[in-house]
């Protein structure tokens, strides 16, 4: 029996990577534990060790190949009792080439699902919804493809170049270059005065950041994930959010708390939670939760410049996704403005952050069934852009909200309350919410999938409000 060497995952959310280098060639003998290859994602580089001993019989995926899926066979080893020449893979050999990276957001110049309907059917998991360009980006702007991770890093770097007072602090932000590699390269450019590794001490460094902000600096405090920010909740709410009011406007607290928020993959309840509505509840805070790389960049730059405390909720699952980002010297977006990602006549879908992925996937299916969906990305959760939502509901008369937090007192609950108050007579159906199930996040893969919202649930909810 030949032994298959598979593309390994570097993290719970990694789906694919680059096979950067082979350290062995056909005919080499390897022992278990020998480093045989290096793989790379935009986040990190890791060595691949042989799990068994044997002789390299075939290199299935050449070095330099990008977008190699996790668990794909990358090499074959012959066992002791086999001849190397007898071992052959069934899969066609992959030459080193740049495969087309799957896009989650169809940007400028891409074909729409209608134009390539057949293909869309085959790749049902790849949303093929044409997304409207952002009216806040000047017409004729060039775009470059960037991951959310890179866009966030660029936003911080640009603002740090622009303003001496801006600095980043948090666990592993400097030498390790970020637990999720969002601060990659910042230490090299700005030095350890402005890129500060902290001890594991969320309550302490969040408070220290708030104090530095009160003194007029512009801290960016990274939480490795927002799950750990619960340790710092008192400083975020009582010190950062309330001080301006309690001081009669005298004290400012220009600080950004940022980091990944929301369900990650297979990390269970303590590491997998969406805090959107926790922060959106608090007067004195601004809360931003972008979906695309363009919005992540434009809104993080705005957040850093804002004189108020901003909670900037990123999403680990989105970090590695590529989007078209405006090629502008200073791409800053307005805070508090939702974006109509696609116009439609039949029903309004409102979501934010990773919730948008479920929506786009559902919309591809709903369009085929003849339903014309309008999709709104809230982008900012506090202040909520209710004007955009209300205008849309007045047009479509139907509303479904989608979010990854629990439904109770969630963003969808708030929107539903506002819509019934402001547009009651325009509603032709009850407002439905798609959200995480009302349970702590389970670890088991099947249960986790059941706990999370899904495109199918979005499809179902949209059909229900359309009485279809």
């Amino acid at each position: 029996m030949s032994i298959k060497v598979l593309m390994p995952a570097l993290s719970p959310t990694m789906e694919e990577g680059t096979l950067a280098k082979w350290h062995v060639k056909v005919g080499d003998k390897v022992e278990a534990g020998d480093v045989i290859a290096e793989i790379e994602t935009d986040k990190a580089t890791m060595e691949v060790e042989a799990a068994d001993e044997g002789t390299v019989a075939e290199i299935v995926v050449d070095e330099g190949t990008e977008n190699v899926k996790v668990n794909e066979v990358i090499a074959l080893l012959a066992g002791d009792d086999e001849d190397v020449s007898d071992v052959k893979s069934e899969a066609p050999k992959q030459k080193a080439e740049k495969k087309e990276a799957p896009k989650t957001e169809a940007g400028q110049g891409e074909k729409t699902s209608r134009e390539s309907g057949e293909k869309a059917k085959k790749e049902a998991s790849e949303p093929k919804v044409e997304v409207k360009s952002d009216p806040d980006v000047p017409e004729g702007t060039e775009y470059v493809s960037q991951t959310v991770r890179e866009a966030l890093r660029d936003a911080m770097a640009e603002e740090m170049r622009r303003d001496e007072r801006v600095f980043v602090m948090g666990e592993e932000v400097a030498q390790y270059e970020g637990a999720y590699k969002v601060t990659q390269g910042l230490l090299a450019e700005f030095g350890d005065k402005r890129v500060v590794d902290t001890p594991i001490t969320e309550h302490g460094f969040a408070g220290l950041g708030v104090g530095a902000a009160m003194a007029g600096l512009r801290p960016i405090v990274e939480f490795m994930t927002f799950n750990f920010a619960m340790q710092a909740m008192d400083q975020i709410i009582n010190s950062a959010a309330k001080t301006r009011y309690m001081s009669g406007g005298q004290m400012s607290c220009p600080i950004v708390f940022r980091g990944p928020n929301g369900p990650a993959a297979r990390v269970a309840a303590q590491h997998s939670q969406d805090y959107s509505s926790w922060y959106a509840h608090i007067p004195g805070l601004i809360v931003i939760a972008p979906y695309s790389a363009a919005d992540a960049k434009g809104l993080l730059k705005a957040a850093i410049r804002d004189p108020n405390p901003v909670v900037f909720l990123e999403n680990e699952v989105l970090y590695g996704k590529s989007f078209d980002v405006p090629k502008l010297d200073d791409h800053v977006l307005p805070i508090g403005k939702a974006r109509v990602m696609k116009e439609g006549a039949d029903v309004t879908l409102v979501s934010h952050s990773h919730g948008i992925t479920y929506c786009l996937e559902a919309m591809a299916q709903l369009e085929e069934e003849g339903l014309d969906v309008e999709l709104i990305d809230l982008r900012t959760l506090r202040p909520l852009d209710m004007d955009t939502v209300i205008a849309s509901v007045k047009k479509t008369n139907r509303l479904v909200t989608v979010e990854e937090t629990w439904p109770v007192c969630g963003i969808g609950a708030e929107i539903a309350a506002e819509v019934q108050a402001q547009a009651f007579d325009y509603l032709d159906a009850p407002i439905l919410r798609v959200a995480q199930k009302n349970v702590p996040m389970p670890y088991a893969a099947n249960l986790e999938k059941l706990a999370l919202p899904s495109a199918e649930e979005v499809v179902e909810a949209v059909k229900a409000v359309c009485y279809r």
Binding site: G204, G207, G209, A212, M246, P283, G284
Partner: protein, 354 residues
Amino acid sequence: MASKASSGKAGKPAPKQAQKKPARKSDSGPEPLSKDEELQAYRDMLLIRRFEEKAGQMYGMGLIGGFCHLYIGQEAVVVGMQGAIKEGDQVITGYRDHGHMLATGMDPKGVMAELTGRSGGYSKGKGGSMHMFSIEKAFYGGHGIVGAQVPLGTGLAFANKYRENGQVCLTYFGDGAANQGQVYESFNMAELWQLPVVYVIENNQYAMGTSVARASAQTNLAKRGVSFNIPGEQVDGMDVRAVREAGKRAVEWCRAGKGPYILEMMTYRYRGHSMSDPAKYRAKEEVNKMRAEHDPIEQVRLRLMEAKSLSEDDLKQIDKEIKAIVNEAAEFAQSSEEPDASELWTDVLAEVEA
């Protein structure tokens, strides 16, 4: 067990950790103040005392609401420390904050009007007793959550180091707050990054109604920095001279870039924790003894009299002046308008800079 074997023979003293220690003066008593300094300290402490007495009265009359924590008995701490810093050095504290505000030179009228919740208060009436600020006087609050000011003060010191402005932050907290975890998170970062912060622990012996002995495994709070290698000392917090001398030493240490410093001020509050506390957890005799033998203001008054620097009449004149200032503040705090209803909606968020 292996771990025990490696820790050396029983009875053998553990190797002493190289402790950083500032040079200390010999025990010939605290450095005396000049006549002018004594006089100023007397005035400053008396202002706090009379102000707090008036606040207590006004609370009883229903003019001040909510929580109100008086500083009576602890005056030497803030007045002594204020004499140890320079203009620009920051001060931050918890909720027993009226004394700190007056010591930094904030206007008694504005402080009292905040206590009454009027528009003339430092926070336009929106903060109250525990939440006042003055950027002009480098007073950063006024914080209501026990211990929360400690990371904040450490952050002010971080900003000082970042800007290389040579300023020091005095971060005050009580013996109760000394048991909060965030205090030690702050100690760790402050020493790690050598931040210019003096942690002034005002040990008035009771955290609300719980004595230090009932709440603290290590009652010598000056030692709380030992595992972080932060020097600390206990100071007679009832003697303004001792406070100032220790304060100068600590501030100098910070300003020289040697990192944080801890001063445990042994002090005493005469009143209950707040206005609603009858203080039944301690004997009346204990309070009376403190008042009679250690009162910070009386100590200065006696020295001034002994030195014949001032006559009884001179002191009476000062008392009169202070009383007038406090009465004026009380007057203002009652005549100042309540905040306009529109103020409900202001100061939640700052307008975005153009």
